[in-house]
């Protein structure tokens, strides 16, 4: 019951926030939070470190952006299409990658993502270095105009909650239990008769689709899809968000995304813009050396020890 109250409190906060804080910033935080949650599904609950997740974020963005510019579809359809595209790409990559484990898995996903990065760099439908510019936000169901930033924010909030709920359900389903079993002891899960690779593959697809959902939404918010979202730096950023927030916790990625995006927002544009990568790198190193359970993980430990 206490956790429900916390959730309700957060929800109230989320509803009122755009009155105070610049809504586009908030929408960005939510997009990245969803991306990090999707990533965490794979790392935290299946134990697979993907170093190529940006490719799904970017694919969702490009598909949605292209459809909004060229097809006249309404945004919700374009977002769904982007999500499906990400899921399909995830199915292909997942099939190739889940054969390998640990570091091999990380490198295979990274290289696959880089393959797609170069394809997008040259493919005509992505606009190459220019990106897809001037993506219209459109009207949801042909009725609700998203041009206003606050309306846009509430739309993003709704998508985030839907995605978050889906990930939450997946983790707490029997499927999620098996995932955790595989993470803890893979050979045992195999001996119990589970087709381990099949489970990993499905988790990969869900994670890819949710990442694409985040990318699709982000494209609408910024009216732009670009190579930055496909670049391996972005894959690194989502790892950082998850790590800072707490790997394997439900709320952790959300907190991590908030921290990292705020940091970027604060540093870029200011005199400190140059330090962004240095600080991000330092946070990475510190997290790995002495803060491996992340903010939420530490908080949970603290609560367990003191209450």
């Amino acid at each position: 019951m206490r956790s429900r109250l916390v959730i309700l409190f957060l929800l109230g906060l989320a509803l009122a926030a755009p009155l105070v804080i610049y809504p586009v910033f908030l929408a960005k935080v939510l997009c990245f939070a969803l991306f990090a949650c999707a990533f965490n599904l794979l790392l935290g609950f299946a134990g697979l470190l993907s170093f190529g997740h940006a490719v799904f974020l970017g694919t969702g963005g490009y598909v949605t952006g292209w459809l909004m510019i060229n097809s006249g579809l309404t945004p919700e359809i374009a977002i769904i299409a982007g999500t499906i595209a990400g899921g399909l790409l995830g199915a292909v990559f997942g099939k190739l990658a889940v054969k390998r484990e640990g570091i091999y898995f990380a490198m295979v996903t990274l290289a696959l993502a880089q393959l797609v990065f170069f394809l997008y760099l040259q493919a005509p439908f992505t606009g190459g270095e220019d990106g897809l510019q001037g993506v219209p936000r459109g009207k949801v169901f042909g009725l609700i105009d998203l041009a206003d930033n606050q309306t846009m924010y509430y739309f993003v909030l709704a998508i985030f909650l839907a995605g978050f709920w889906l990930i939450h359900r997946t983790v707490h389903s029997p499927f999620g239990q098996i995932m955790k079993a595989i993470r803890e002891n893979e050979s045992r899960a195999t001996s119990l008769g589970y087709d381990v690779n099949q489970y990993k593959w499905i988790a990969f697809i869900i994670s890819a689709a949710m990442s694409a959902l985040a990318g699709s939404t982000k494209t609408l918010v910024f009216e732009l899809a670009s190579l930055t979202d496909v670049h391996w730096h972005m894959s690194g950023e989502v790892i950082l968000m998850t790590l800072v927030g707490g790997v394997g916790t439900i709320i952790g990625p959300l907190v991590g995304a908030g921290v990292v995006v705020s940091m970027q927002n604060y540093l870029s544009g200011g005199e400190l813009g140059n330090y962004l990568n240095i600080i991000m790198g330092a946070v990475f190193v510190i997290c790995v050396l002495s803060f491996r359970s992340g903010i939420v993980g530490q908080f949970n430990k603290f609560r367990r020890n003191n209450f």
Partner: protein, 295 residues
């Protein structure tokens, strides 16, 4: 022009040679990665940053201390190697018993930091480093004009790569190294200081990247992101070659350079993707890589 069946052989050989030059750098870098991976079981994401560091140390040494190229070729790898040793000793060793993914992330963070620091100091645009006087000019081959320095790159990289391979596969030191990979406890029991070997190996692998950086400085412009661009390609090469194999890393590095050169002639649009395509195909047919043992 020498054309046959619609193929312009002059242009083709030219591209192949350029490919071999790029391949020399791939080989040096993937060799360093393979050595480190062989003993420590970690992927050094900072290998690209160390390559960049090598080029920058050479450039700064030249600018502020008048250090010439030949001195740089000897001194810079040692400096970079020492930095690597410090990193291994104080950052990687404390988490050596954690999941190896953490050391991947640690080196990734280090790479970001090092690149960020150099971008902050020097901006992200490139700076030029002069070709040493003795290697200026070039040879007019039947099919192309080959600058001497580029020829030098191929010769030296191949020499360095194969002497390293020989040292690891054929000498007593190499035996220790390989034994350390197989069974560190046993080696320790024989009275060999395994942690020291691990640290020195890391330094050597990183030093190779620094060496490649000095080699690259006169041909590619020296810039903070020079390492991160090449690193991902080298990762793909390591996956193609098979992670455990030293010889595999060298051969695949050179081979992929040639494949890239071929693509540049026949279908230039795919030249950036071809290595990754090869990787996908290899993964489908032989997931452990061309020269890898089944993991």
């Amino acid at each position: 022009m020498a054309t046959f069946l619609g193929i312009n052989f002059f242009a083709l050989f030219g591209q192949l040679l350029i490919g071999l030059i790029n391949g020399s750098f791939y080989a040096l870098l993937s060799l360093g990665l393979a050595i480190i991976f062989g003993l420590l079981r970690i992927i050094n994401f900072a290998q690209g940053a160390m390559y960049m560091l090598g080029a920058f140390v050479a450039l700064l040494g030249f600018k502020y201390m008048g250090m010439n190229y030949w001195v740089a070729l000897l001194v810079v790898p040692i400096i970079v190697g020492l930095i690597g040793i410090l990193i291994q000793r104080f950052l990687i060793r404390p988490i050596v018993n954690e999941d190896h993914l953490y050391s991947l992330l640690l080196t990734f963070g280090l790479a970001l930091m090092i690149q960020g620091i150099f971008t902050h100091w020097f901006g992200s645009s490139g700076q030029s480093y002069p070709v040493p006087e003795a290697l200026k000019g070039g040879m007019r081959l039947p099919f192309m004009y080959l600058p001497n320095y580029r020829a030098w790159i191929i010769v030296v990289s191949v020499l360095v790569c194969f002497s390293t391979w020989w040292m690891i596969e054929k000498t007593k030191l190499g035996v220790y190294l390989r034994a350390g990979t197989e069974n560190p406890q046993l080696l320790q029991a024989f009275g060999i200081n395994v942690p020291l070997i691990v640290t020195l190996t890391f330094g050597f692998g990183v030093g190779l990247a620094g060496f490649a950086g000095v080699m690259a400085a006169p041909v590619y412009s020296v810039s903070p992101d020079m390492g991160s661009n090449i690193l991902i390609i080298v990762f793909a090469i390591v996956v193609i070659g098979g992670m455990g194999s030293i010889g595999g890393a060298i051969l695949t590095g050179l081979g992929m350079g040639i494949v890239e050169g071929l693509t540049k002639y026949f279908y230039p649009e795919a030249s950036a993707t071809v290595i990754f395509l090869v990787m996908v195909i290899v993964l489908m047919i032989k997931p452990s890589g061309l020269f890898g043992k089944n993991a």
